[in-house]
């Protein structure tokens, strides 16, 4: 049975080299990094190396990296760490990941004010809007680097520069962009940056928050004073070692991975446009992640397409309400101004390192018939 995984924005398979790097830290070097004996020191050394590796990839210093359980915790820590227990104003975008949006809602409940900036039809935030939204009370600007659904890459350097001019910390969620676009926290004026391991062929359950030296944030998890007191809890040493290995592989393979992904992505998009009518690309035509192809197919519903593709062994995701637990259509696609009935027909293909030309050709072979079949059933077709 054919099995083609095109949902790499959801998660990735752990690279075999990563698994190998992690293995000794389960069985031999299993020590607690806080222990003073040799077992503990081995673990502590491994953590230090991992921290250095990840810091290097961002142009940061090792001491600026705080390990967390993943992107969601990093986002929570960045926002709540700055705002919790204080009144103040946050500027963010309307297309952030729920880890940001739900945290903002929570902080609003505690008395903070939040500005949710609109995006244009390609999903871009206007840096001018950030500037105009700043008030005397603004304590944090948080705008994601690249969007998880549509892959649009925000002008974070410009946004960061504006925030810096006003002396306001700038956080960006780089969970989707890390490993796929160049990131330099100095050049890009970033004060905090969220990372996740499992989106870059590392293990699940581990991530990091970069926090610029000098920026004081409060912990959201209290305990034994790990991670400079900012994130208590025995470090996930094997996971962190795997994360660091995944980062070093991503850096090593950056150019070849990017070229490969762009080629497959464009082959997929061009192939779909050549073979299917009434299809539109969601997101920015050029300012987008190399591995993201999100398209909407008029007159059909995404979950039905997803199921047909799954029957053919192809794994994708959709912005349709019908596939989400909340039954709400994608807030990202709605924010682009796409009518709800068209949002339901959106399919996200996110490619990975291991995908091949042959797999994309197979998708292009089976997709037109699926869309045609569903359009033949649909009362909206031709309206």
């Amino acid at each position: 049975m054919t099995r083609i995984y095109l949902d790499h924005a959801a998660t990735t398979a752990v690279d075999r080299e990563v698994v190998q790097a992690m293995a000794p830290y389960f069985t031999e070097m299993f020590g607690n990094a806080s222990s003073l004996h040799t077992f503990g020191r081995d673990a502590k050394d491994a953590l230090a190396r991992a921290r250095e590796e990840i810091a290097d990839a961002l142009g940061a210093d090792a001491e600026e990296i705080i390990f967390t359980s993943g992107g969601t915790e990093s986002d929570n820590l960045a926002l709540r760490g700055v705002l919790l227990g204080r009144k103040g104003h946050i500027i963010t975008s309307s297309i952030e990941h729920p880890a940001i949006l739900k945290t903002c809602r929570y902080l609003e409940g505690l008395g903070c004010d939040v500005t949710y900036l609109p995006v244009d039809t390609d999903g871009l935030v206007d840096p001018g809007d950030v500037e105009s939204a700043i008030t005397g009370e603004t304590r944090l600007v948080s705008v994601m680097h690249a969007n998880n659904e549509i892959g649009t890459i925000q002008p974070v350097s410009e946004i960061g520069a504006i925030a810096a001019d006003h002396g306001i910390p700038f956080h960006t969620d780089a969970v989707q962009s890390f490993g796929k676009t160049e990131i330099d926290v100095q050049k890009m004026n970033i004060d905090m940056l969220s990372l996740s391991s499992h989106k870059i062929y590392g293990p699940k359950g581990v991530g990091a928050l970069y926090i610029r030296k000098g920026l004081k944030i409060d912990p959201i998890v209290y305990g034994g004073g790990h991670e400079r007191g900012i994130r208590a809890g025995t470090e996930n040493v094997s996971g962190i070692v795997g994360f660091a290995k995944a980062v070093s592989l991503a850096c090593e393979r950056f150019e070849s991975d990017t070229a490969h992904l762009v080629k497959l992505r464009d082959m997929l998009i061009d192939g779909v446009f050549d073979s299917i009518d009434d299809v539109f690309l969601n997101g920015h035509p050029t300012e987008r992640l190399p591995n993201n192809a999100n398209m909407r197919f008029m007159f059909v519903e995404g979950e039905a397409m997803l199921l047909h593709l799954d029957m053919k062994g192809i794994a994708v995701s959709t912005g349709s309400a019908c596939s989400s637990a909340s039954l709400d259509p994608s807030h990202v696609l709605l924010a682009l101004g796409i009518p709800p009935e068209d949002v339901h027909g959106s399919i996200r293909f996110t490619l990975g390192r291991e995908n091949t030309d042959e797999e994309i050709r197979y998708v292009l072979d089976v997709l037109p018939a699926i869309v045609e079949k569903l359009r033949a059933i649909s009362p909206l077709t031709g309206r």
């Binding site: 007159f299 059909v300 519903e301 979950e303 039905a304 199921l307 047909h308 029957m311 349709s320 309400a321 019908c322 596939s323 637990a325 039954l327 259509p329 009518p339 709800p340 009935e341 339901h344 033949a376 059933i377 649909s378 009362p379 909206l380």
Partner: protein, 125 residues
């Protein structure tokens, strides 16, 4: 989304898809904005549904319920057809995931609308 085998069968191979060129009654239910809309077309003779077809824009469950309602309703008298409930459709499909019971189980309502359309057009006869 966990669908029963029966749902997947009706989704992959929907029965009685399409429109009836000269229907005696047509009904639609749902809203494309919510992601699901079903149209039902019927032919009626001697108070009995002799032919029925459907079209659905929607998810797997919405398509499967459209297909199933055509099988349940064909050959039934109008009163019998009006007695088919959403639960009957779900049961005939071997159940639907709980989140789908409300939003995607539209076919029975589309059938009622088609029958009412027929009845409205044939009030005097």
């Amino acid at each position: 989304m966990e669908y029963s085998e029966k749902v997947m069968d009706h989704f992959m191979n929907p029965r009685n898809v399409g429109e009836i060129p000269d229907p005696d009654g047509t009904g639609e239910f749902g809203n494309p904005v919510c992601g699901d809309v079903t149209h039902v077309y019927i032919k009626v003779k001697d108070d009995r549904i002799t032919d029925i077809k459907f079209k659905t824009f929607g998810c797997g469950a919405a398509i499967a319920t459209g297909s199933m309602i055509t099988e349940l309703a064909v050959g039934k008298t109008l009163d019998e057809a009006l007695a088919i409930t959403r639960d009957d459709v779900a049961d005939a499909l071997g159940g639907l995931p709980p989140v789908k019971l409300h939003c995607s189980n539209l076919a029975a309502d589309a059938l009622y609308a088609a029958i009412r359309d027929y009845q409205a057009k044939n009030k005097d006869s």
